[in-house]
Assembly symmetry: C2
Homo-oligomer: 354 residues x 2
């Protein structure tokens, strides 16, 4: 492989000039830059990235820790991963995938063997045992999600409580008063205290009580069979329910199918509103489901950008961001069939309340 | 951060002994190893992986190139990605995600800026322009997929032709003679000549003709709307069809829904058999779809393992592997409703042919 010296000789410039072009450390005229580039191409020169990394004590690798084997990665996680890779690349970093569970001992093996400047943690739990490890190792990290007490920690999370509020606003504006929440059940004991489920459940209960309504919460495994069973259970145990919020993307299609199989027409007999569903999954369901769309891409992008900002300047304030879920209307929400009075004015509607 | 010297002093051993423990270069007694490990933990020592990488000219990074922005990453690609990350980790490598399209100029930027020992290419096209680039740069690479003429190249691909044959065997054994193939349409001009669609189409046409049957091929965008439109078009233009092979995972759920909406009962009026569908997507559809399951995990694992084998020993023969898709029966295939004769004996059945 060619050296900078050989490139310099070939292009008829100094080694320093080649270095300026390669490392972008000083401006170089377009003509000279083009000549250097042509010589690099002709000689097959590649930057000695390892040596540069050693000199700067920077690998320009960011690790994204995700639980490959604990449970199926959903569309939102996929959006996080894709956008994080794009954002890292835009900042001159590689995104490295660490398929490791929420087990600090396993993570430590990766950290000590790995070649990264910082770590982004997905699937954060209320008391996440990986955090003390990363603090002890003094490795910069940020959470995609957050713990029960995230003060002092960098995090980027979905605003689950805000999404529940938006969902309740939408459904009550349509006239619904009997509203259920369908949560997922995560089988893995490692994910006990997994934030989204706990936060959504709490926000739903308090939001319903604040509106003078009775909260009904059911849960089901995050599987197709789970969705079917949840539909049957809900219709049997809570026949008064006219609308359901669903934080369970994998069970959502069969929850809809299960309602239909029991003779219910959607949305006439049951409105269904997805919570933190990916836009792809929402559009792919039958009928297309109304949902508060999970901001997967924003999570990935902001977590990477804020981490690189901090690596570039350690004085950068910690990011602590909650990203809202936007309402995307499909064909699964409407006023309840038996509505005997006009729905309350929706915040989306232009009507006025008498 | 502690140095090896500090660890050695703390553990009361020589620096060489610490190095043996860290790098595994010579055997060290369990007791000494434990003492060194305890000192490393107490002092917060991490291997100087960069220096090691520089000394060995190995980064222990493998890049997986996938088109983040060209089209939605399906469940099978997700399986490849996850299993590749797990396999890389098991061999002591990091998997780096390069979200770059099938554009050699863009890939070159990654290669020259990146820190990897080898590259794995996804979404390979018939004449893939990235290959000459990687050959010119003398960077080891392997294809997940393959070109039209892959001799001399390392590749791991799904056996699409074999999957079509298995699918036709299954459907004709059930008694079907009027069989259609529903393909995806990839909008991106960069993916012209994308292998799976071309190979599947060819195998279907020759397999049908060899059986004395008339091949009917339709295609639809890889979207929910595409599936619905394909159902309507197929029923209108080819009312004789009693079974459809579908290589279009994203349109499959709404293809089923579209058939149902037109009053067809599945599988009585139309058998549907997925081709190279992920097991997850198949189980999640309604009804659960019979499918030849895409071996996403095997593709990821084998491509990484064979690449690491080659990096460890450049004399290792190139891997050129076609991985079969296994038949997973759901509820969408049966004999045709109007069958006037018993179905031919299936290769799956235990019956004997007279």
């Amino acid at each position: 492989m060619a050296t900078m010296r050989e490139v310099a000789r070939h292009a008829g410039v100094s080694i320093a000039t080649v270095s300026f072009v390669v490392n972008g450390t000083k401006p170089v005229s377009a003509a000279t830059r083009a000549r250097v580039q042509a010589s690099m191409d002709e000689l097959g020169f590649r930057r000695n990235v390892l040596a540069r990394a050693l000199a700067s004590n920077r690998t320009r690798n960011l690790a994204l820790v995700f639980p490959a084997l604990e449970h199926r990665l959903g569309n939102t996680a996929l959006g996080v991963l894709t956008s994080a890779a794009v954002a890292a690349s835009a900042r001159g970093f590689n995104l490295v995938l660490w398929p490791v569970s929420n087990d600090p001992a396993q993570l430590e093996e990766y950290v000590t063997g790995g070649l990264v400047d910082a770590v982004l943690l997905m699937e954060v739990t209320a008391e996440d045992a990986r955090i003390p490890l990363l603090q002890r190792l003094d490795l910069p990290f940020a959470l995609i999600g957050r713990t029960a007490e995230p003060s002092g920690l960098a995090y980027v999370d979905m605003d689950f409580a805000g999404a529940v509020e938006s969902g309740l606003d939408h459904l009550t504006a349509l006239g619904h008063e009997h509203i259920a929440l369908l949560l997922g059940e995560i089988a893995s004991p490692r994910l006990v205290g997994y934030g989204p489920i706990a936060r959504t459940g709490e926000a739903f209960e308090s939001g319903m009580l604040r509106r003078g309504l009775t909260p009904v919460v059911v849960s089901a495994p995050q599987t197709p069979a789970g969705g079917r069973a949840a539909a049957a259970d809900l219709l049997r145990d809570h026949p008064e329910i006219t609308a359901t919020l669903v934080l369970n993307e994998d069970a959502l299609p069969t929850f809809l199918a299960g309602l239909t199989a029991h003779g219910r027409s959607i949305p006439r007999d049951m409105s269904v509103l997805g919570l933190a569903t990916s836009a792809d999954a929402a559009a792919m369901s039958d009928p297309p489901v109304s949902t508060l769309v999970a901001p997967g891409s924003e999570l990935g992008r902001l977590s990477v950008d804020s981490m690189v900002d901090r690596l570039d300047d350690p004085a950068t304030p910690l990011v602590q961001a909650l990203i809202p879920c936007e309402l995307q209307l499909g064909d699964t929400t409407s006023p309840p069939a038996g509505a005997t009075r006009p729905p309350r004015a929706s915040s989306q509607s232009k009507g006025t309340v008498p």
